[in-house]
């Protein structure tokens, strides 16, 4: 599901705050772990892969109006810890473009970081099981399973918000039953509705989790399939041209230099 497209001000404050706290803790932990390696080398790599995900997200598959996410590709390339930092960066950039709310940056980071970590773990597992010849299948399966899990997480999030969601609304002078305007000045300036409201108690109703789940589980698989096909094609292409980027230490054959170049680095 990649990032959640839930607008600002819908999820309850406790959920949004918990998301922010958990995301910041994750980013700090990931940064602390990244410091053990050569940070200076990691910064350009992180920036480039985060930019790559952003470029992919701005790419529409022409006839079906679906935007690619490449979160599994980014996870495979960066690993889970750097992936968490990249997820945070991508979400901040998206929020500043109005794509995904600012208040849900924390929850979005957790969602994308989970996607990258799951994608990385599943791909490594499947690549090891299926072998180098079936990188595409490993990538496609990893993507579908990852997206199915994160979509379920999203439904769980909405269920968690449930009746606590900010669905309360006041309609002002608009009567929600007849959709007609009442004139607050009709009874005179003094006596009127300055002292008594037309709708004193805001209406509050829970989000419809069942309807929401039905919609995302109907539309979701189309997106999973497209994402899986593209992820498989991209990773298979990179694995053919630069296997070291995809496999890392997994299934990596020893690199042999040209004859006469032994010992030259």
């Amino acid at each position: 599901m990649s990032h959640i497209h839930i607008p600002d001000g819908v999820l309850p404050l406790w959920l949004v705050a918990a998301g922010w706290l958990a995301a910041l803790a994750l980013v700090w932990l990931a940064s602390a772990r990244a410091k053990r390696a050569d940070v200076r080398r990691k910064v350009p790599l992180l920036g480039v892969v985060a930019a790559l995900v952003l470029v992919a997200m701005s790419t529409e598959i022409v006839p079906v109006a679906y935007h690619v996410n490449l979160t599994v590709v980014a996870g495979v390339l960066l690993g889970p810890w750097l992936g968490a930092i990249a997820a945070f960066i991508v979400v901040i950039m998206l929020a500043l473009l109005g794509h995904g709310g600012v208040t849900v940056i924390g929850l979005n980071t957790l969602m994308i970081a989970t996607e990258m970590a799951l994608g990385w773990g599943l791909f490594r597992l499947l690549a090891r099981a299926l072998g180098r010849r079936h990188v595409g299948w490993a990538a496609a399966l990893a993507t579908i399973v990852t997206l199915a899990i994160t979509t379920t997480m999203l439904v769980g999030l909405v269920a968690l918000a449930g009746g606590g969601a900010a669905t309360g609304r006041e309609t002002g002078a608009l009567d929600p039953r007849s959709l007609t305007f009442a004139n607050p000045l009709s009874g005179g300036v003094v006596s009127v509705n300055t002292l008594r409201g037309a709708e004193a108690t805001p209406a509050t109703a829970p989000l419809s989790v069942a309807r929401f789940a039905a919609v995302v589980y109907t539309l979701g698989p189309i997106g999973w399939l497209i994402e899986a096909l593209i992820t498989a094609a991209v990773l298979a292409y990179v694995a053919r041209v630069r296997p070291g980027l995809v496999f890392g230490t997994v299934l990596m054959e020893p690199v042999r230099g040209p004859l006469g170049d032994q010992g030259v680095r």
Binding site: H5, V209, A233, Y237
Partner: protein
């Protein structure tokens, strides 16, 4: 999303909002966002949206890009409202709230270059995150341009055509694969350049001062008034609710007046 249009507006714009201090603009953005989030009254949120639209028109921001970007989250909010909102008016509130929050963020980035938006964040985030934010911004333009060229090349060879989704997806995947390799080479080159320039693990961004401190004060005061109004309407909803449509009407009049003023001055 056309990041080049945003960057062009943010770096070459000459409005008073462009000249305001980045910290002031970030605080004002936070206050507006809080006003939108705290409010449950459709008309008050609508008034915020119209006020932000007036600001965008008044500051002569490129409206085609600004409104296009603001409408995008609105579309997703419509889907979410159809899927989960308990009734029509709550759904309308979700959509207007999403668009108002997005418009606040979009106005911010159209008048403030990204590095200046990131600079205050850099001070509170771990170094690697702050630096990577700046590197992402830099790499985004290079990769977007490279990808655009790849897409043109594919289109010229009839790889991207309507009616052939499989071929389009396959061509896009090939282009993205090439882009991944280019991205890795780019990161290596950037690393070499940064080392030559003496990068030691911390990129510094200097924040410009406000061109007119009085304008900054007025901006903060206006955003504070909007938040105060939203809080008062939330707290005293029973009393003030019947009057809320007046706010939306006033904001609409302000928007129309701003549009008229802009047309006349043209």
């Amino acid at each position: 999303m056309d990041v080049r249009a945003i960057d062009l507006s943010a770096t070459t714009g000459t409005s008073r909002l462009h000249g305001a201090s980045p910290v002031t603009k970030l605080v004002a953005f936070g206050l507006m966002l809080a006003a939108v989030v705290v409010q449950q009254n459709l008309f008050v949120v609508l008034a915020c949206l119209l006020a932000l639209a007036s600001l965008a028109v008044g500051m002569r921001l490129p409206l085609r890009h600004v409104l296009g970007l603001a409408a995008y989250p609105g579309l997703f909010a419509v889907v979410f409202a159809l899927a989960a909102a308990p009734d029509l008016l709550t759904g309308a509130l979700f959509v207007v709230r999403a668009m108002a929050a997005a418009l606040a963020a979009i106005v911010l980035v159209f008048v403030t270059p990204y590095p200046q938006v990131f600079a205050p964040l850099q001070r509170v985030l771990p170094e690697i995150v702050g630096d990577a934010l700046l590197m992402t911004y830099r790499s985004l333009f290079l990769l977007a341009e490279k990808f655009e060229r790849l897409r043109i090349a594919i289109r010229l060879r009839s790889g991207l055509t309507r009616g052939h989704p499989v071929r389009a997806a396959s061509a896009t995947a090939g282009a993205l694969g090439s882009l991944v390799l280019y991205a890795f080479d780019l990161s290596q080159r950037e690393y070499d350049v940064m080392r030559l320039r003496g990068y030691e693990g911390h990129l510094r961004v200097t924040l410009p001062r406000a061109a007119d401190p009085r304008f900054d004060a007025a901006l903060l005061a206006s955003a504070g008034v909007v938040l105060g109004t939203a809080v008062v309407f939330r707290a005293a909803g029973a009393v003030l609710t019947p009057w809320s449509w007046l706010l939306a009407a006033a904001a609409l009049l302000a928007l129309l007046a701003t549009i008229a003023g802009r047309l006349i001055s043209r």
